[in-house]
């Protein structure tokens, strides 16, 4: 029966999960290649994606490529200018900024990914349920509206402040504020997809709610969700930087991009590199992710307009 239903699914299904119609390894590969082709032809996807992969690689290799230990201090070279030994200069404890930035990147990316996963999972669940079960739609969406009625970052600041200053709590606080918008995106695409005839066909064939929702609706509603998650990753990195800049993110001496900038603020006149270089790194990561998200959106839905996030 599953096979007879599958025939109703539109082509993009295979783009998302090519397991569906595999006949031979060669055919599977060809399918993947065909599905990926439009993405690889998009300049934003390729450029944003490659920069982001490079950033990931650098962060993964941080322990191997960092020239110094992130907390090793050289008291004879405090607030030192960028030099051959200290490429990004040193801070007020004589610590190597570059090494701290490399470790800070790991933390930023970890928090960003954590928020993307956590708020993505809750947003997907809430959005799917409220798009599919009409009775739950009202209460769930009113709840999301209430959360969106707060200035977002401010709510995250308050939550992170009461939870306590750790990277995990920062990730939780940020996940809370980015969940509603993701839920709305998922709900909107579920509402569109569920009108299709093949959903009706699956129901007529006796498929249960869970099967219809997961296999037929969600699978075909994935594209806007994945685009949204890319943007959440980007804003979460900005959000984490804000929290640790304020002093309610991961605490020193653990380096995070936000707290390095905050440390350097007092020395903006004498040692501008302490604050300015780590911020440039945040910017590059976020820019790459935004570019990737824009590109993914253009490929998957050229009509979609720019919405505030």
């Amino acid at each position: 029966m599953a096979c007879s239903i599958r025939r109703f699914a539109p082509v993009p299904l295979d783009a998302i999960n090519p397991r569906g119609a595999t006949t031979s390894p060669g055919a599977a590969l060809a399918r993947w290649r065909a599905a990926l082709a439009p993405f690889l032809a998009n300049r934003s996807v390729v450029l944003g994606g490659s920069v982001f992969l490079l950033v990931l690689l650098v962060a993964l290799l941080a322990p191997a490529i960092a020239p110094h230990a992130p907390d090793a201090n050289n008291f004879r070279y405090r607030l030192g200018e960028p030099s051959a030994e200290y490429i990004f200069g040193t801070d007020h404890y004589g610590r190597d900024i570059l090494s701290r930035v490399l470790y800070g990147m790991r933390l930023s990316l970890l928090v960003g990914a954590g928020v993307a996963l956590l708020s993505g999972a809750t947003g997907l669940l809430i959005g799917a349920v409220s798009g599919y079960f009409d009775r739950l739609d009202g209460p769930l969406m009113r709840g999301m509206d209430a959360m969106m009625a707060f200035p977002g970052t401010l709510l995250a600041i308050a939550l992170a402040a009461v939870l306590g200053p750790t990277a995990l709590n920062a990730a939780i606080a940020l996940s809370v504020i980015y969940t509603p918008r993701t839920a709305r995106v998922v709900r909107a695409s579920v509402l569109t997809v569920r009108r299709h005839d093949y959903v009706e066909a699956a129901r007529a064939l006796g498929a249960g709610h869970l099967r219809i929702l997961v296999r037929h609706i969600l699978r075909n509603a994935m594209a806007p969700f994945l685009v949204q998650i890319t943007f959440v990753f980007a804003v979460a990195i900005l959000g984490e930087a804000v929290l640790s800049f304020i002093g309610i993110g991961p605490q020193p001496p653990t380096p995070s991009l936000g707290n390095i900038i905050s440390d350097g603020r007092a020395y903006i006149e004498d040692a501008p590199w302490v604050s300015l270089l780590p911020g440039l790194v945040i910017f590059v990561i976020v820019f790459a992710l935004n570019m990737l998200g824009d590109g993914l959106r253009d490929v998957t839905d050229p009509r979609m307009t720019v919405e505030p996030r």
């Binding site: 209430a146 009625a149 977002g152 009461v162 939870l163 720019v306």
Partner: protein, 316 residues
């Protein structure tokens, strides 16, 4: 029209109720006991009781809730633990700075964002369009607290044109005030400018493809009139909504920008509360900002109805 406005105002009540409940509930997220996190081990039972009362945490949860709404209705946001001052009073004292900052940056964001968006839409696909879109992506990706530091470094440290921070009251020295607000407002406005430019561009592109634009052109209306009176006027409707949402982002952003530029506004108050675990300040600041944000969005909704009769008809 009056009916429309009344409906919108009524519609905001449940949202305000939810917002106040969430603000009330925030303190429950403190791991362990919020009172003991404020006092050291040597605190006497009397001190503990006093702080508990100050946090509104005495009595059963239901009593607490009732007392909370009782105070809210009287405009009382509680008593700051560290400032020795009512939270509402502390907020009102600092509010003008934050409002001036958000309004100024909103003005910067709207004026340049709309202009850039229109230009990009008219010259669609050109180098100029690409440049505007590229710049807006840059604007959206900038951490604003860092961008503020970059501006401080450029204009204050390197060029010496503007002060590095601090605040000069408008009534004392208007020129000094302008100088102290210029960089913060620009810092805060940049990311919203990017957002507004993108929104204006896409909305303008949609409008310019409509039949009535072609009709206006065919009737011989001047290109500028077509663009502004027929095009922009209709394209602005969704931009107004974005501006309302931007306001929330600006209120959040102001918190951080005030920190960077040492402006003694509401944001600094909240950060002070956050860093010193002054829970009433956190709760009150959160609720107050959210209430402003809700009311601004009601105003935007009403404005939307004024601009677009279709919206009005649908709601009534």
């Amino acid at each position: 029209m009056l009916r429309f406005i009344a409906l919108r105002l009524l519609g905001a009540l449940p949202v305000l109720l939810a917002v106040s409940l969430i603000s009330f509930g925030v303190i429950w997220f403190v791991p362990g006991d919020p009172v003991s996190s404020l006092l050291d081990a040597s605190a006497t039972p009397e001190e503990i009781r006093q702080v508990r009362a100050q946090l509104g945490l005495d009595g059963s949860p239901l009593d607490q809730l009732a007392a909370y709404y009782g105070r809210l209705l009287r405009g009382d946001l509680g008593q700051s633990i560290l400032l020795g001052q009512p939270v509402a009073e502390a907020i009102i004292e600092r509010l003008p700075i934050t409002l001036a900052l958000t309004v100024l940056s909103m003005a910067i964001a709207l004026s340049s964002g709309i202009a850039l968006g229109v230009v990009a839409a008219v010259k669609r696909g050109s180098r100029l369009d690409q440049a505007v879109m590229g710049a807006s992506l840059v604007g959206l990706s900038l951490p604003d607290f860092w961008f503020g530091l970059v501006l401080v470094f450029l204009f204050s440290v390197a060029l010496g044109w503007l002060p590095t921070g601090g605040y000069v009251p408008l009534t004392e020295d208007p020129w000094g005030w302008t100088q102290s607000m210029l960089l913060p407002a620009f810092t805060l406005g940049t990311s919203q400018m990017a957002l507004v430019a993108r929104m204006t561009r896409s909305s303008m592109l949609e409008v310019l493809g409509q039949d009535y634009i072609r009709t206006a052109r065919a009737k011989g209306a001047s290109p500028v009139a077509v663009l502004l009176r027929h095009g922009l006027r209709n394209a602005l409707v969704p931009v107004v909504t974005v501006a309302g949402l931007s306001f929330g982002l600006l209120l959040s952003g102001a918190v951080v920008v005030e920190l960077v530029f040492s402006l003694p506004g509401m944001g600094r108050l909240i950060i002070g509360g956050v860093l010193r675990r002054d829970y009433p300040v956190i709760q009150g600041g959160l609720l107050f900002s959210a209430a402003i944000f809700v009311l601004v969005n009601v105003a935007v909704d009403i404005l939307y109805g004024v601009l677009d009769p279709k919206v009005r008809a649908r709601a009534a």
